[in-house]
Symmetry: D3
Subunit: 341 residues, 6 copies
Amino acid sequence: MSLLKAAILGGGNIADNNHIPALKQLADRVELVAVCGRDLAKARALADKHGIAHAFDSTRSLYEQCAPDMVVICTPNNLHFTQTMEALAHNCHVFCEKPPAIAAQQAQDMANLAAQKGLTLAYNFQLRQTSEWELLMRCRADGLLGDIYHINAHFLRRRGIPGWGYFTNKAVQGGGALMDLGVHVLDLALYALGYPTPDQVLGNTFDLIGKAGGKGLMGNWDPKTFEVEDAATAYLSFPNNVSIMLSASFALNTQADKDRNLEIFGSKGGAKLLPFSLHTEVAGELADIQFPYLEETDIQLKNTTAFLDACDGKPSTVCTAEQGAILQEIVERIYRSAEKK
Amino acid sequence: MSLLKAAILGGGNIADNNHIPALKQLADRVELVAVCGRDLAKARALADKHGIAHAFDSTRSLYEQCAPDMVVICTPNNLHFTQTMEALAHNCHVFCEKPPAIAAQQAQDMANLAAQKGLTLAYNFQLRQTSEWELLMRCRADGLLGDIYHINAHFLRRRGIPGWGYFTNKAVQGGGALMDLGVHVLDLALYALGYPTPDQVLGNTFDLIGKAGGKGLMGNWDPKTFEVEDAATAYLSFPNNVSIMLSASFALNTQADKDRNLEIFGSKGGAKLLPFSLHTEVAGELADIQFPYLEETDIQLKNTTAFLDACDGKPSTVCTAEQGAILQEIVERIYRSAEKK
Amino acid sequence: MSLLKAAILGGGNIADNNHIPALKQLADRVELVAVCGRDLAKARALADKHGIAHAFDSTRSLYEQCAPDMVVICTPNNLHFTQTMEALAHNCHVFCEKPPAIAAQQAQDMANLAAQKGLTLAYNFQLRQTSEWELLMRCRADGLLGDIYHINAHFLRRRGIPGWGYFTNKAVQGGGALMDLGVHVLDLALYALGYPTPDQVLGNTFDLIGKAGGKGLMGNWDPKTFEVEDAATAYLSFPNNVSIMLSASFALNTQADKDRNLEIFGSKGGAKLLPFSLHTEVAGELADIQFPYLEETDIQLKNTTAFLDACDGKPSTVCTAEQGAILQEIVERIYRSAEKK
Amino acid sequence: MSLLKAAILGGGNIADNNHIPALKQLADRVELVAVCGRDLAKARALADKHGIAHAFDSTRSLYEQCAPDMVVICTPNNLHFTQTMEALAHNCHVFCEKPPAIAAQQAQDMANLAAQKGLTLAYNFQLRQTSEWELLMRCRADGLLGDIYHINAHFLRRRGIPGWGYFTNKAVQGGGALMDLGVHVLDLALYALGYPTPDQVLGNTFDLIGKAGGKGLMGNWDPKTFEVEDAATAYLSFPNNVSIMLSASFALNTQADKDRNLEIFGSKGGAKLLPFSLHTEVAGELADIQFPYLEETDIQLKNTTAFLDACDGKPSTVCTAEQGAILQEIVERIYRSAEKK
Amino acid sequence: MSLLKAAILGGGNIADNNHIPALKQLADRVELVAVCGRDLAKARALADKHGIAHAFDSTRSLYEQCAPDMVVICTPNNLHFTQTMEALAHNCHVFCEKPPAIAAQQAQDMANLAAQKGLTLAYNFQLRQTSEWELLMRCRADGLLGDIYHINAHFLRRRGIPGWGYFTNKAVQGGGALMDLGVHVLDLALYALGYPTPDQVLGNTFDLIGKAGGKGLMGNWDPKTFEVEDAATAYLSFPNNVSIMLSASFALNTQADKDRNLEIFGSKGGAKLLPFSLHTEVAGELADIQFPYLEETDIQLKNTTAFLDACDGKPSTVCTAEQGAILQEIVERIYRSAEKK
Amino acid sequence: MSLLKAAILGGGNIADNNHIPALKQLADRVELVAVCGRDLAKARALADKHGIAHAFDSTRSLYEQCAPDMVVICTPNNLHFTQTMEALAHNCHVFCEKPPAIAAQQAQDMANLAAQKGLTLAYNFQLRQTSEWELLMRCRADGLLGDIYHINAHFLRRRGIPGWGYFTNKAVQGGGALMDLGVHVLDLALYALGYPTPDQVLGNTFDLIGKAGGKGLMGNWDPKTFEVEDAATAYLSFPNNVSIMLSASFALNTQADKDRNLEIFGSKGGAKLLPFSLHTEVAGELADIQFPYLEETDIQLKNTTAFLDACDGKPSTVCTAEQGAILQEIVERIYRSAEKK
């Protein structure tokens, strides 16, 4: 099998720490040919560090000189749309960081173009690859949960407004805690339900702590330039009496430093994701099941592998372009619901 | 001060264990004159047990022979409306068990008639009287919470479908877990916010476990006659970006046997009710505050006292007729939201 | 259905606290007619306390005057044999305290006579009736354990040599910790395996602490009259590579005050009895299953009911005469193994 | 004092990680001159890594060219016998990995030849050198245990069938969990008792999990080639009413991942090895003694030192040739007992 | 042996709950003949409740009419002196509640008179009779502590200013936390050292919380009439470099509700009283010893027995008149040290 | 701003691990020019390791050749006095390791000369820079403690007599546990109170364990050359009823390996330092406040910065020359109090 030629767009931490190491471990399937970043020197340094031949500061040069088969997009959220459309136009498969984009229509357009071109577009929701999530999927498949009818999903930080990057800049990020953190657990909750589209969406966003300032646990943020929500809550209602409760926060007056979890309630059993436990009946008695030996795995490696499988037309657990479009639309509906109040 | 003459409507457990003992401790303010129940012998026995002079099986006889100043209504939910209206018509103050009624219009009519007659109508949401709730109210008043903008309220049982009474009978109870359990924590959540009316309500109800049957932890129920929801979830959105997430269950595949709690999130601090803890900043650092010596108190005695204070025109923390009407309407909107799916 | 006329032989604690209360709760099946004890005054007092008509100090008088249908034998171990044989001769069903007897041949003779007379003889191993044991039996029946091939059974006390009664008197008791405590868990272990007879038995008994004296946790014992084993260990080997390890102690230099438990190892799953847990695979992962809501039940009432069911020819979980004979023979083989060293 | 010239037989992990590092730290007593392995290149690489001059793939060459004073045997179990006999024949002291051999007669022959040649043959049961075991020996010597009369010894893994090497190959290993793990705790138990020979041995071996396959926690094994026992249980009975209960498993449906421990019961006190605790009487009261500051030590270094001390005729705690023969015979009696069923 | 005729002076709780029940259990040694209290009706009621023949409101009548052999003094602290002197003058043994008196000279005079009359005078420091203290004394006697050279003794309450009685009245009580609570642990500390007299005493008393008021955990106190110390700290220095640190509080901003304990440091071992633990070396290693099975005993019964033993001239652990005088002098020196600042 | 030229006196661990790394991080304020030690080769090696230009074995050469602006004194306690006086004479600021000196008069002379020369002399009590201590100071400043009236300060080791250096040599160290460990917590306690001078001091020192020998947890010490106290206790009494209890030990029969802590009691609140907790009233209830997110900081870097700030005439939290003289005098008074017994 010939190797896919891959280029990295965006030369920041996530490229350096997640995507490039994963791709290098998959050298039997991919050849990393280029890094393209805003700052050529930085791109060059990153390429050198990882033994990648080319570095660019313009995607045009990249496509002209390297003709990659696939690109990995690790740029700020507001660039995902144009860079994906351009890559698809150059007949590249696209593995794009989350969230898909900053507007629902963008994500839909991206999905449409990928479908039209017959290319793989996928999003890097790598939490799908944890041992806990895989076990949940097996439990669901084995019928241990029965019909799932309600999910609580939350990704909360007490004072985790990042003190670096663009996290509090609305134009670049498209939003705050929901856009950055909430999408991870929303993707999982939707995935558990088969990625349905909700009938109704109701939500609120908040910013009182972010705008007031105070002690930070992930560096210090500037309350004067804080433009996004520090927290969001929402309720999604699906056909056949199925619901999701969603919460996300950068800052919230709660006890835990960080709290990311899902509770999945089904007719036969319920599951909590972290630590994974199952609540059901065994031998006619109410039973709690623990799994003490789940391994921690390299979830980026597994998710990149899943993307490559999708490119090869194999079954894959990666988040598809269509799923990304559904998710992005829900995010937009939550923000719209919050605004009209 | 002359004593209020009081009569008890409904001779079941809640009269025997809660209301009558409380009223007997308040003998300096109330004289218990009669018990009125469906079954005269049972009413007579209860009256004798507590040294109450009269027993009736018809409210007409009660009002004719005893002319009470106040009645306590401890009958099934579907009788609350007619018995309250009748009592008000006989110029009695009314202390009615929760929920107020089984339809929003009923609760509104009850409130209207009480207002028109200048009588006190109040509902027995006695969880307002716990030490924890009183402390929360003091923390709010002292500004320790700042502006409250989101509340999680839940009252969950894993397999607590009562195996006795009418709890699974829709005509009598008007609903299931939401009507019986959820109203308690909904009342508290609304009270913390100043009892606003929500702009929007979205909810779902479920009955898969109730209809399937299985192991019970509060006696055994009959899945074949199970007509109500075994669980309900809802989201209430209020003006100025304020929200409540509400969950209630008789049966849910979760770990804890029983789990009743509220989390209140404010701009200065957040509180968890049980065990009471406060999450805020002290001396410039993130701090968690515990209160290890809160006493357990006789919450029924305190709520009955609050009712009597209201009758006397004094400040009172009892749930008013107007609050009851707001709550009942929200419950109805949740059921309606759940039905139209 | 006509009531069985029952008599109690032995008027001590176990009659007073266990058997008579259980039989009184089963008044729809049994009529308690007499107590027979060594000391007529004591027997009379016990009969009066429980509203039983007759009291005797000779079994001959009992059988002549009352003609009972069944007897419950609560006398010291060394009387079980003669009293059972006499009762069977008088056509009574017999519910005998554990251990069956103090010699294997006695238990075999008792079983033979019961079989010959078509009467029910059973032993009061009431630990068969705990919620945990019932759950284990259901797990086994549901195939959750697979084939059981090894059991660890122990009943250990650190310093629990009873300071009262005949517990250290060999002629009366027939033995020490094995005869008094070990038989309980041995019965359970054998029951879990289908009550097979072992191919080989190897064991040892010890008495160094009992004979040395020291601090007691169940009263004080006299080391000078200590005649029995303070501890015993044994290994039973059954056909098809199945084994039981058995330990029992009145006194042992171990940490726990009291420690009674069984570990059951099967090809599909293993179980620990207290607190009940199951160790197996679920959804392809190693899993531990807990059952947090097992109820404590009245095990004597349930075991007496099981005996009556056996008398009525219904399926029953009571320890049968045949099982008692197998168990008694194993106990004797352990003692013999220990002696010949 | 002149240095002993030492050679390593077997160039695998245990040579690389245990024996060679220990010997290098003892450079004032030993000179490592050669490594001899099946695969010359691998032996050469290991020798180079550790700065050892010679590498061989034939023991004949080794003895001819290097004339070592001692050899350390780190080869598979089935080679221990011939390599030891050959080394002794070449007048070498022998430090052999456990188990001594795969048959009782082999271990006896090895001991006989060593005795006849006046050479030191010892086995690497390095658990004798832990701080806990040393403390137990001091407690025994100080009389804190009194007379020891029963020991529970176990070395259990839940799913620890090694997924590498020859651990499931009967011809190479001579057995499974008993041969690989059980011998460690059996050696300790025998050592605590003075290494007596048992009067009687009864045991069983099992293989249902090993042959069925499933989840592994130490790599994955192939159930189709699984030839050894996955678990073994045994009871050893010694003169004067002393007993050992022994359990070992590669795979067992129990809770703990790994559980290796000994409980030693004596007339004055009892000890649990891990964490070390003593259960006895102090000042007339039942007391539990903990030792919170036991250090972890380099047990291989200490055991290798003990071997060298033995070679020098000094007192030593290393497992002697005679002890190894006793242990090997017990292992064989356990297997024989298990087979004849 | 003829019975001692005993009278109770002071008819409050401590007579009712402690001394009278203890004396009634010792009916083979004592005959309770009278209760004498300020309020005759109350004294009469107490006497009737316990089946005591006589009741008085004047000690003169008591001595004239009953001629008791011993009296138990349960009156407020400021009456201990005169009542003891009067009782001794009437040739009665005296068992007096703690503290001995409210001035050092009083306690010395009491001791002198008792000695002169050859009567037993003792104080009810009943904490000497706990299982923990008895074990400490045995450990000391067995040499497990070596030479004791420092003791930390404290009896602290967070907000335990009693809301009843005279506890905050200086004239009646003689002091606050030190006089009421501190004396208990001071007595134990002195007893452990052999009741030496200190060379030097340095201390302080505090009253900021008592005078400020606030939340109480033992009822509510009135800060306006708070005259005593709410806390006291002191250091006692004895010959040969031995020291005691002492703390006592009715109110202190510390975590625990109540905290009473002693730490005893000796050359061979140290002990903490609650829960009792010993810190020493065993078998050459640092060891911690726990005693999990200490029984709770009836310490009043044991201390009253000790008093009677003293009356009979037998060895006794009761606090003697001489010890009481030493203790009272130390208390006075602490108060004097605190005042002169 | 021109850089201060700094020299290090004493080339041991504390220079290498603490002071030099801190000074190198402050290269914008300080230039490290020389190391001066007893052993020139060692001083040279240390200088080379850290890139420092000069090394000396005589302070005279140092001052002649380098003319430093400041010196850091890391030599044994008995050299602090002469080296500080010499440095001040050469117009150097001095940052001296704790304790200030080994006699009170020395510390006073040092402070006097520094004041006279207008130079900064400060001591390295770096525990003033922990997050916990800074938080305590903020709590005090915010009034959360009210008036502080008692402090318990202790620094205890169970068997922490250092097995290296001069720690047991009285001439070099000036004392034992009090001089080495106690001074740290004494400095903090005095600092919390505003560094007052006590009216009265009472104390004792002990050496029974140090002179007896035994198991060590910080290496092994030689009991035959043990000249200092292994433990010390003291009580300091200040004007206006304020007190400090102080304990320090190298060796004590207590449970914890190491236990360093302060409890600070004030009229409004009390604090425990480790883990930091506040005990007070909030909203009318007794409350305990925890601060779960205090960061560990580089306390040496912060204390060295504080010294430099003091040199620059800025506000500083470093221990001043005057404070050091007060502390040294208290230490001397404690030793004197202990001696005269």
